[in-house]
Symmetry: C3
Subunit: 398 residues, 3 copies
């Protein structure tokens, strides 16, 4: 029989053949130990590190989240320009609802009863004037507050500045109150409701977990990392302290505080229950150097018509703390593809072990020449002539 016979008699017989390498067993303690030691390392890596620590057998999904917040509290102030005044949620939470953040007013520069009219510009080197000729009608300084009318008018008893058409009187924002107007905001509380979904695993979770909290607990609890880590009601002061900031200092010029909710979850049934972890971090840069417009503030206005029917507004430069609720995390669940990929990659290294040990065997061992002789046969090109003869017989059975 020649080789072609195989194909003639049908591939069926070839189909049932099994081809396997011929091997030699070498009784070398050193190489045997090395081989098993490397394999042990690889297996330990796979099961210890990849499977146990990194959970390489898991498929992951990223989070989608929805947040609602509700601030509670009120505060009484008695400032010189406002008089006695109660501030409640409708006054100090601006805008009244956000998506993933809420702003609590802590300080404010209030400029009431502004109208569209003319008034002297705030004094700077470019606006102080002596006579009308120092001012240019229609000129609009990008760093100014309005369109110059061309007149030079008294800003105070001693200073004259160019008159501008603008919302008058102008806001004077150089001196912000050194003590925060609503420093009492530190006692306000906020209820955060967070609903998350991992769509790939059809997992839905809430930060108010029905298995560990109940209605009566929720009505009286307050977040505390040690004693109440799952209470969704947070004292503003607690949050700022957790971020290692001082509320009263932060309240003066405002800032941005991140409420980070970590939903990293192991969704396998043998994993721990999925619980959110809260951390807090100041997100804006309080460092005064290499910075611009430190703190956090914005301007808004309340519009009225005054008794003359003229549009009037109260301009408020609101300083305060913006709390950004940032929900993040990844869920992992057993999946066959990453398992195969991680195991397969490690298996490749097992086959590499053989190559390493072979190299050691024929290079570093005392009896390397003996091993090499038995392991490897070098085909001599001069055998070529004998090949065609012997093939017919030796190889015929294939």
């Amino acid at each position: 029989m020649t080789k072609t016979t195989c194909c003639c008699h049908g591939c069926l017989s070839c189909f049932f053949d099994y081809e396997t390498p011929r091997t030699i067993v070498i009784q070398s303690k050193g190489v045997g130990l090395l081989f098993r030691f490397i394999n042990f390392l690889i297996i330990a890596y796979v099961f210890g590190y990849v499977c146990y620590l990194q959970k390489g057998y898991q498929d992951t999904d990223s989070i989608i989240s929805s947040v609602t917040t509700k601030v509670k509290g009120y505060s009484f102030t008695n400032s010189s320009n406002l008089g006695p005044h109660i501030w409640d949620v409708a006054d100090f939470v601006i805008p009244p609802q956000g998506e993933n953040s809420f702003f609590v007013l802590t300080n404010a520069i209030i400029t009431p009863r502004q109208t569209q009219s003319s008034c002297p510009e705030l004094p700077t080197t470019s606006t102080i004037c002596i006579a009308d000729c120092d001012c240019t009608e229609g000129f609009s300084d990008p760093r100014g507050n309005g369109i110059q009318t061309g007149l030079c008018v008294n800003y105070s008893d001693t200073i004259k500045t160019c008159e501008v058409q603008s919302w008058c009187p102008l806001e004077l924002d150089v001196n912000i109150p050194e003590q925060a107007l609503l420093g009492a905001a530190e006692n306000f509380t906020v209820l955060i409701k967070n609903s998350v979904t991992y769509p790939k695993f059809n997992f839905h979770g809430r930060n108010i977990m029905s298995d560990i909290v109940n209605t009566s607990y929720l009505k009286r609890c307050e977040f505390n990392r040690q004693t109440d880590p799952h209470c969704p009601i947070f004292h503003l002061k607690t949050m700022v302290s957790e971020a290692e900031e001082e509320f009263q200092t932060m309240a003066v010029k405002g800032g941005v505080l991140g409420i980070l909710i970590d939903w990293t979850c192991d969704l396998d049934w043998w994993g721990k229950p999925c619980r959110p972890q809260y951390t807090f971090r100041r997100l804006d840069d309080k460092n005064p150097t290499n910075n611009v417009a430190p703190g956090y503030n914005f301007r808004f206005a309340k519009y009225f018509y005054n008794s003359d029917g003229k549009e009037t507004r109260t301009l408020i430069k609101a300083y305060g703390i913006r709390f950004d609720v940032i929900v993040f995390g990844n869920a992992g669940k057993f999946s066959i593809v990453p398992t195969i990929v991680n195991l397969g990659a490690a298996l490749s290294f097992l086959s590499l072990t053989g190559a390493v040990c072979d190299w050691v065997l024929v290079t570093c061992t005392r009896r390397r020449h003996y091993y090499l002789k038995h392991k490897t046969t070098v085909l001599d090109d001069s055998d070529d002539t004998t090949e065609s003869l012997s093939m017919g017989t030796t190889y015929g059975t294939h």
Copy 2:
């Protein structure tokens, strides 16, 4: 020639050597079948599961998205305290624009003409008093509404409570209207425009797809899962129904409804066109047990100056449905790296097949000793002496 000659004559000749294992072919139907069956399973897994189902040959990217919404509709109410009143978009969408969400007012407790003044506190066990001595001037109860003035005044004909300084008259929010004020909001529609990008693949998409909708269709269509799955205009009632909720019930105390837009896409040219899928799900917990502040509401105020020039406000506790547009998804596109990784990992298992079949061969087959004899040679340590002799001749050609 000795082994060192090779190195002397140059590595060039070694470089062209090809070393390959010697193998034996075993005509065993069982093991041959097993070998081919396991390999078939692995190949089926790779092509069927990894490539076809899991698209393991794809690199993925996560979405970035921008959403704009526009609510349309108006409603007529005739309540006892407001009188006949038309509500339009500027009245019931608060704030007028959001980023990824919009709020539609469905119910409200309106407390008009509040001013900073004094009035009797709402009656609770701690605020009911008989004489002024029951009240403490300057005391501020965290669960109350203002600073006590120290007086005990008539709340009603029968009840006296401590007077507080606050925005007066106080809001009375215990009795919310049992039928939603703006129940007609169920007929409002919203146009959702969603623009997405997968930056890694430079893919830009919109939920208004120019290839399947045109302007005239957009002007009259309405989303319907069966008949109009790509119309970007949604009836509020349809969305709530799709989430298996009842609009009128949800409207009373409010809630949060997720509009989930799934942009999971196969961006390969042989994939399906990339189309968004809309689903709807209630995100807040309507379960009254293990819950706090169920529903969704927030307070805001409209500020005025009254005819005396005193600041006045209308406080509105707004109940309603917040619609959160949540855009998610992953795009996949052929990439060489994940392909190699997945194929490579499966290849490793192919090499494992050999190990499994070898084990079966020398353990479970009837003729295992025969196979083992031919497959494996055990080097005897006692051959050591012959080695140094034979090496020079047998191995010299290497």
Copy 3:
């Protein structure tokens, strides 16, 4: 000794055995070259493409981000209905603060002094009437503006329409100003502060990088892709131009502009410093075909009490540009798991190389029969009888 002896004498000796394939070395230039060339390709792919280009040795994390924005600028308009008017930030940034976006008003249809009353509906084919009988009391057209009172009244000298109860007078929004009211908004600037975190790597970054900018630079700089790529202050016009749009055109009907901040980072110490890259892209569809409600606008109202104590509002249909700050990116850092996975997968292909070369060897080479004879031994089933005999002796040492 029989095979069982091994197990009797203890597995210890087996444990130190090392089994390795017997190989033949074939001095074939062609196959040797092929083998080395394929291996070279695989190694080049691994180190060149996977490691260098794709950074396959890195674990990745997705970004979490917080954005604050502050618009600066003011503008003077002198329109027929408003008279001379200064617009400042409190007027044209609506709402005064957003989370990841801000809206700048550029055009507006203002309908002042609306009250809840009755007025003629806007003329359309369905609202034009001749007599009261053409109108239905209580009818509410979804495309109309209010509840019909049943009267037919003069809309103008020539046209009569059904009277509706609504916020009157009705808004007339068909003719929007052809030149944007606040076209001067192109000169406004915005300061964007962005703080990002990669939680897995505990990396925190800001777009105002203290190592390359200082306070004095920040006070005068303006973003320019060539000269000031790291200045966080952006001219609105520059951003729109970078998106290849014309500000004045876009300002008329509004639009949505994406400010994309790419934080793709290599966090390994040998990587480049992590710097944000800004790009700009129009996100809404300006194409008038296959579109609905092009541009970007929303309605809001300012509420007053008029001198009669009646609630009055100024309705504003605000056209403008919404700037969405979209922060995205992935950070990568060396990690052992993806490294092992990528190297392992490539290693598998190295073992595949052997299979390919073997196939070439026994199929395509001139001396294939000779090679095959030495490489492969076919076990003949007829040897079965000799097996049991020889086993005892030949295989006894195992």
